[in-house]
Amino acid sequence: MSTIQVQAPGLQTTVQDLGRSGFGPIGVSPSGAADPISLRLGNRLVANDESAAGLEMMLLGGTLVFPQGAILALTGSDFGAMLDDVRLDLGTSVEVRPGQTLRLGPTSSGARCYVCVHGGIAVKSFLGSASTHILSGLGGFEGRALRKGDVLRIGSTSEPFRKRAIVPQASEHLSRRKVLRVTPGPQADWFSESSLRSFYAGAYRVGEQSNRMGLRLEGAAVTQRGAGEMITEGVSLGAIQVPVGGSPIVLFVEQQTTGGYPKIANVISADLHRVGQLRPRDEIRFEPATFDAARSLLIEQEKLLASRELILE
């Protein structure tokens, strides 16, 4: 059995897969990778099923030792990874020899880097998923972010090493965007015309207190038309809710499943992985999209992700 020893955990490293769907009736949100496209690509590079569990690192990466070696790929943002003393590129598979050390540092691009290993990270499944839900301490590795001294098991492996890389055009298509496209929220008409205008015209800064539950935005306050009383209802991934103070919050992967604040807009599904790469202090803007356009963009994105030509062997 192969293992990974955590020598330094980084700021917040968690085991994540594509999340657990279908447990809304007991209040469990899907969780899963904040940038699921990066995780899916990483898994393909190491010949895993797209939904295998990998490690999600946030802002500052950790140091991992592979006593038995591994087949590994890094995707997402550039954390200046070094395998022993050799610089490791993103988006390409590499063979790690027994005893080698992978060191990741602070990000030089977006918020998250994914470490995928052939065989996946083996943890006890909770409600059908390996994803960590930090707030409730459920799933993943003991329901928490990794700590120094943790030893992770790598799942059973079957394939010999093959060099694989993501085609550059694909990375370009999936690259970071500071303009997020949004569809109207279910309470969009609760907001005044001027508020809606400033919401779409202004820039918002991602707040320091942002996390996997939600991103707090700083910028032009958005005010409601009247003093309507919301009845708590289900909230969707990427919903932009506006609490009393007027500062919008983007609800994210570890979101509450229901909420009582009006939603002005909702990030389109094709841009959700980009939300996972936003760092505190990043400046973003919102651009309106129709439901039909959002759906077409998602279908196009999925087509690209499903294409054989995406990965070079």
Binding site: S21, I26, F126, P186, G234, G238
Partner: protein
């Protein structure tokens, strides 16, 4: 963007991959029954492409895979489901007791809540424990049950600024709702007591102690009993 059906049920897209079904815009027993019926029907006869269901007071959020489904097609299928709701049977909710140690460090807001209503803390406790509550739905975090209705004389607005963390098992009130925090989460409800019962038990088959439709009564216990039950 809203589409209305013959009665007060209507559809509202929430995102490119989700649709809200509203049964009116009021918290009523009738709306709650319809939520439970549609939830049960959707669980018994799942719609291909639907990923998740989030029931609430008078709505269900239905999340789907937009590669497989779109709002219009889903609405069409749901109309067929809604036509069958009157024939749906839902099981009677269970009757459950939740023991609570009220006040002091267990319920730091009890005295203030009582004072706001011109009650003594003992009267506020008696009121809270005097009625049978209905679990309208589970939401927010795993195992958090939204219970109603709180006696009018206890209805209290949320705290102006939410606590960063509430101890697990804390019993809170907000407006005319009451509920138990299963985990140490941020929370704006006023805390009047704490239960030693685990509201979410990941190792059990029925993970959530409470289920939608259950009937719940709070029973006051002493600090000594709380300690004994917590260590049991």
């Amino acid at each position: 963007m809203q589409t209305w059906t013959a009665d007060d049920t209507h559809f509202q897209p929430a995102s490119d991959q989700s649709l809200l079904v509203y049964f009116g815009q009021q918290i009523t027993v009738v709306a709650h029954q319809r939520v439970r019926k549609l939830l049960r029907l959707l669980e018994q006869e799942p719609i291909a492409g639907v990923r998740n269901l989030n029931p609430a007071y008078c709505s269900i959020l239905i999340s789907f895979n937009a590669v497989q489904l779109n709002h219009g097609d889903l609405e069409e299928i749901l109309r067929g489901y809604l036509d069958r709701l009157h024939a749906m049977q839902i099981p009677e909710g269970r009757e459950l007791q939740v023991p609570v140690c009220y006040g002091a460090e267990f319920g730091p807001d009890l005295n203030e809540v009582a004072a706001l209503h011109g009650l003594t803390p003992a009267q506020a406790i008696e009121l809270h424990a005097s009625v049978t509550y209905v679990v309208y739905f589970l939401g927010f975090v795993p195992g958090f049950a939204y219970l109603g209705e709180l006696p009018e004389a206890l209805a209290t607005p949320r705290l102006d600024s939410p606590r960063r963390s509430t101890p697990p098992g804390s019993v809170g009130i907000a407006g005319n709702q009451t509920g138990v925090y299963p985990f140490a989460t941020p929370g704006g409800w006023r805390l009047i007591g704490r239960t030693p019962i685990a509201m979410f038990r990941p190792n059990r088959e029925a993970m959530s102690f409470l289920s939608i439709g259950d009937r719940v009564r709070f029973t006051p216990i002493s600090a000594a009993r709380f300690a004994a039950m917590e260590n049991a």
